[in-house]
Every structure is written in C-alpha cells, then in structure tokens.
C-alpha cells in the first residue's frame, strides 16, 4: 500500500504502470484520476489546502479499510495540494484485486471517502475572484451506500 500527499505533479502513466507491474497475482487493476476541469475557460486556477498529519492518517485508514473489505492485492492513493491549473491531475487512486468487481468497488469506496472525509479543501480562482468549493450533498449520499461508521 502506498499513500502520497504532495504539492508536485505526478506522472499518471508511470504510476499506473508501476502499480500494475507490482501486482502479478491480481487479475484486475482499476484506476481513477481527478483532473481540474477547465469549466469552459472560466477557471483560472485551483488551490487545495490540506491538514498535514491528519491527511496522511485519514488516507492510510481509508486504504486499510478498502484493502480488508475487498481483499485487495494492493491500493495506492496520491493526492496533491497547493496551486493547480486547469487540466492538471489533482489525485489518483489505484486498486488491484483478483476479480474486477472488487477492484471497482474498492476504488469507488476510496473515492467516496476521499471526497468527504479526507481533510482537503478546494478553492477556485476565476475572473470574479476566489471561492471555496462547496461540499456536495450527492457526495455525502454516495458515502451512505458503504454503510460505514466513518
């Protein structure tokens, strides 16, 4: 398992290949990556604040839970903070499992928890100024299907 919280960009292609090469017993690898949408050109930049220390603990705990619950061969989370431009990769997760349904569900679970339970906050910069991104009710609801206490 690997957790990385960093301000530098990461190389998605390299990370996916390295993760895939490291799980020879697995039959299925799922990855998700989140990009800064350009919003039709209106978004100038995004800044991501986080809570150093707590962030790493929260990601570790989410990852542990996913690996146990879906018997994952392995899991990876990379999440950036700081200033990002449209089109840049914000984060990625990868999961490996024997069967595809476990790899898919593990990745969706990681994403649902990252969205609403990992201490990151996004701020968007447009021509009109800067604004903190509101949490979405739909993200909160997405969590409910996993029936967890977290």
């Amino acid at each position: 398992m690997s957790i990385r919280v960093q301000s530098q960009p990461f190389d998605m292609g390299f990370e996916v290949q390295a993760f895939t090469d490291s799980v020879p017993g697995a039959g299925a690898v799922v990855t998700f990556s989140g990009l800064v949408r350009d919003e039709g050109g209106s978004l100038g930049a995004m800044e991501i604040e986080h809570y150093p220390g707590m962030t790493e603990k929260a990601l570790q705990s989410i990852c542990d839970e996913a690996i146990e619950r879906w018997s994952l061969t392995d899991a990876l989370i990379i999440h950036r903070h700081g200033k990002l431009s449209p089109g840049e990769q914000i984060m990625m997760v990868a999961t490996a499992a024997r069967h595809r349904s476990d790899a898919f569900e593990g990745a969706e679970f990681l994403m649902d928890f990252l969205k609403s339970r990992a201490p990151f906050w996004k701020k968007e910069f447009t021509g009109d100024g800067a604004e903190w991104v509101d949490a979405k009710q739909s993200d909160e609801e997405a969590l409910e299907r996993w029936g967890s206490e977290t």
């Binding site: 604040e49 603990k57 339970r117 906050w121």
Partner: protein, 82 residues
C-alpha cells in the same frame, strides 16, 4: 492548554491558522461557546454550525465529543477532496 487550528474559510474568517487556548471546556460544544466570545470574527466563523466539522487530535468527531486529554482541536468546513 489546547492547540486550536483552523482551515479553509474558517481560517480566513478568523484570520489565524492556530491559537493556543487556556480552557476548562469539557466538550467541543463548550469550547466553541468560549471561542465565540473571543472576537466578532470568531462569532461569525461559528455562526453556521451545519458548515463546521471538527477533529480531535486529527480524528474526525462530532460536536458533543468530550475533549478529554485532547492536545489539538481543528475546525474546518465540510471536506472537498478527491
């Protein structure tokens, strides 16, 4: 002494990343009552509690949680990671 940290718009409204607080509060809710009296900025930051989350020693919890031996309390808006 307890270390109180603020993130995102709570940090901006209060104008501080963290403060050292001498308190006898026994729960998070009690602590918030005290913090509200510190300044108008604090009162404003804690005016809509539906938009405030709390972590004690870097673990998410709720406003009823006892402070116990907590050393670090953090207040922040709902998270928007991913």
């Amino acid at each position: 002494m307890i270390d109180v940290r603020y993130f995102a718009w709570l940090r901006e409204r209060i104008g501080e990343r963290s403060e050292q607080i001498e308190t006898n509060a026994t729960t998070v809710a009690d602590l918030i009552e005290e913090l509200r009296t510190r300044s108008e900025a604090h009162a404003l930051a804690f005016s809509d509690m539906a938009s405030v989350r709390v972590a004690l020693d870097q673990e998410l919890t709720d406003m009823d949680a006892p402070l116990g031996n907590t050393r670090e309390v953090a207040f922040f808006p709902p998270m928007t990671g991913g």
